[in-house]
Amino acid sequence: MRLKNVFRTLAKLGLDAWSILYQEQEKNTLHLTNGEVETGIESVRTQAEVTVYHMYGKKMGDAKFTLFTDDETEIADKVKDALVIAGTAKKPAWPLPGKERYARIRVADPEIVAAFADGKNEVVTLKLWNALRRVAAKERRIALNHAELHLTRTKNTVMNSRGLKGQSEHTTLFVEIIIAARKNGIEQEFHHALTYGRLAEFDPHVFVKEAVQAARDVVAAEEWKGMQNKGIVLRGVALRDFWAPDLTQSPIVMHANAQAKHRHLSVFAQGRPVTRNKGFTLTSDPFVPYNPASGRFDNEGTPSRRIVLVDKGVCAGFVANQRFAHYVGVPPTGALGVIELALGEEDEAKLFDPGTVEIVSFSSFVPNSLSGDFSAEIRLGYKYTEKGKVPIRGVMFSGNVFRMLDAMRLSKESMTMERYKGPRTVRFDAGCHLAGF
């Protein structure tokens, strides 16, 4: 399928407006079972998502469809169907983006791009796997039971009938391993998975060592019993998942979204406090180099913009595509970027005292985006005692994200990982609790 053919066909059809998101994705994935290659996959996905718009006075109807072919007849049939749909779903019209200027962001690793261009992508993933395997082989009393490596190169082109054209190329390396550790006849495992924007950021030695240490701590961990509702610290992937969960939207982000505002589901209002905590500033930043959450534009070609959502505790802005920006009366921002939390002023050592519980990994953190409530099991944490830190697991961490903000303390030390940039340590003293049985 060729984009220019799709473009030409749409241009000929005399439509009021249209847009195309054309995606070309190459992927190489390697799946290992007990240290052996089980499956290797090379795939190519080329598709176009077309949106057709039709004006009905002050109202506009829109409808999307997907193409895997540039066949003129098929496109014409789908457009005809889309126009029927557009006619039945009219809404107040909004301006479509026109010719735009896009920020330059580095999100494509030249090494990964070259690997695909030269047909060496499988060689690269095998090399990475061998590096992981060698590091793991040096560790005692552990087993590398599972590994997956996904190398991806994606090129997106967005065009519309108003002359908009944007192009971007992204690369990612996803690495997932499961390490089992044994102690006193008991075996426990730790799941470690990260996505990188470029190969240079991936250090197999560090990656495996982190997972091995975590697995050893999990197997040595106590099943802590008791209740605690302050002195709870988040770090590492647990901190990232709290602010930028994988499977759902963060409640803060959900309420700072123009679409939710338009639907009367957001409790945020520009200029009104979200929390009394003036140290809380949250920004969507789509320009963090090589971060998988960064991007030049959204699916409609709206340029990405850095936007402060909460400024010193006060609602300051909304993430908005073109349509909902127009409806709500805010600037369009494009898609959500990396969640950036402003750094605090405290040394992170000050956030710990005897009795503090540090959470480094959840089994799964899936908050209720609307209410802010959550309940998540701690996969690995540490209880700080006068004698040092003791690993714990199996404890339930529950609370409400909004109610935790007032008594939140942020470290001045920072970290950046996929989807998150901000304090390396955050402490909560209200709005949540730990319960162990």
Binding site: S43, T66, V84, D373, S375, A376, G394
Partner: protein, 459 residues
């Protein structure tokens, strides 16, 4: 190009795939969805399609695969030739492959195929449902009705088999949004699914129940952590079967030494009242299909048979490596994703007690109505279910007092041993998607009877 043409064409690729002596197969898939989404502010309608072909060869040790989007016969031929260069190695892994010749086409499109219903009628139906839902309560901040229509076509060929299946699905989700007196936003939803358009006829009673329950959710409190005597709804029972048990019975997980289930095969894990099964052929259930993505015809697997841990769920590779019987659980999210051992429709089998009698046995406890989801822990058999909504029961009677966003935890074998009764009332209401961890999503369903369980850990 129709199904017959594609079947024939894919079969012509087999000699190319198997040129090096390997076993080859091909899977074509096309999934089309129509979504109609209406709330108080707008109606949004969209179509999405996914289409592609997965070509595979197995060389005796591993799979080599190519995935190509769309349907491009020249590109497919080139890819098949490239894969055919893989040479057969020493048979380290002997796959049990579908060998009986079979040329068959299957369909499940419901009593009324949704493709026969005009688009305007679909939109009118959703609009009407929305209007009726909104009218049931003045307390709703917003009401939303999703109609999601799916058409999944798959063609599988290997040297013995050429099969196709076409499966339709109509999913309706009603969501009612409310606000607490403190200004927090909450919601309650219910989903309805079947293969055909007939599923969109939703009685007024169901609409009222969604709204009334949402009103009660607005007043729901937090539950003090503790152990409770609980009556689990079919939805909750299903989540337990799926998240806490089923994932640990996926053979690829067992193969990797990641599943506690390996220590329990042939052993008693629960009373004889308890059987847990997985099967794609539950008609009208969200995880339905006729054959899996490796061409294995759908069969039911009894994972727990009257309290004894019995059989795992397999794909071809894991079954061969473990030396266990194949089941129809080899599934891939799409043509460019791997086939893993995955669940389909997973459920506790019904028993002989009645929900009414079971409820009467609770002096002070809870009904666990539903939950938002859960996470597997195959290694530890830990229970991790989140977003549970519970209702207080006193002296055998529901009090109407709800608790919101509860987490359910514990150790699975302990909970299974704590099952006191299993109802004959039975349903498979689940309509979600299941991930392998946080990736590779396939449609599934879960359910079962009502379960009466003592000492359920909630917080």
């Amino acid at each position: 190009m129709g199904v017959s043409h594609k079947k024939i064409f894919l079969s012509t690729l087999l000699p190319l795939l198997e040129a090096g002596g390997c076993h080859g197969d091909a899977l074509y898939l096309r999934e089309e969805t129509l979504g109609v989404n209406k709330d108080n502010s707008s109606t949004d309608i969209g179509r999405q399609t996914d289409e592609g072909v997965k070509l595979r060869v197995f060389d005796g040790e591993r799979w080599h695969e190519r995935g190509l989007s769309g349907w491009d016969e020249r590109a497919l031929r080139r890819a098949a030739k490239a894969l055919g260069k893989n040479q057969k190695r020493q048979m380290k892994v002997r796959l049990e492959l579908p060998k009986e010749p079979l040329d068959a086409d299957y369909k499940a499109l419901g009593r009324t195929d949704p493709a026969t219903i005009p688009l305007r009628k679909k939109i009118a139906t959703v609009t009407d449902l929305h209007k009726r839902l909104s009218a049931t309560s003045k307390q709703l901040i917003n009401a939303r009705v999703y109609y999601d229509e799916m058409r999944e076509t798959k063609i599988y060929v290997n040297r013995h088999r050429q099969m196709s299946q076409e499966i339709g699905g109509c999913l309706v989700i009603m969501v009612a949004y409310v606000q607490t007196k403190d200004g927090d936003m909450r919601y309650h939803y219910k989903s309805f699914y079947d293969h055909g358009w007939e599923r969109t006829k939703i009685p007024a009673k169901e609409l009222k129940e969604v709204a009334r329950f949402a009103e009660r959710v607005a007043k729901a409190k937090k539950l003090p952590p503790g152990k409770y005597h609980c009556l689990l709804s079919p939805g909750m029972t299903g989540l337990l079967a799926h998240e806490s048990f089923g994932h640990g019975m996926e053979a690829d997980t067992i193969l990797k030494g990641r599943a506690k289930a390996k220590e329990w095969f042939g052993k008693r894990i629960a009373s004889a009242k308890v059987s847990i099964a997985d099967g794609p052929l539950e008609k009208g259930a969200h995880g339905f299909f006729f054959f899996d993505d490796e061409g294995w015809l759908a069969t039911k697997t009894l994972m727990v048979d009257k309290g004894i841990v019995n059989l795992p769920l397999t794909d071809a590779y894991s079954a061969a490596r473990l030396g266990v019987p194949r089941s129809s659980n080899g599934r891939a999210e799409s043509f460019d994703h791997k086939v893993y051992a995955r669940m389909t429709n997973t459920f506790f089998e019904p028993g002989s007690d009645t929900k009414k009698d079971m409820l009467a046995r609770i002096k002070d406890g809870l009904i666990l109505h539903n939950a938002s989801g859960g996470m597997e822990d195959p290694k530890g058999w830990g229970i991790q279910i989140q977003g549970v909504i519970a209702e207080r029961v006193k002296d055998g009677r529901p009090t109407g007092k709800l608790y919101y966003e509860i987490g359910m935890t514990g150790y699975l074998p302990t909970l299974l041993k704590n099952i006191q009764a299993v109802s004959k009332e039975f349903d498979i209401p689940g309509t979600g998607r299941c991930g392998k961890g946080h990736h590779d999503w396939v449609r599934v369903a879960e359910g079962g009877p009502w379960l009466l369980v003592k000492e359920v850990i909630l917080s």
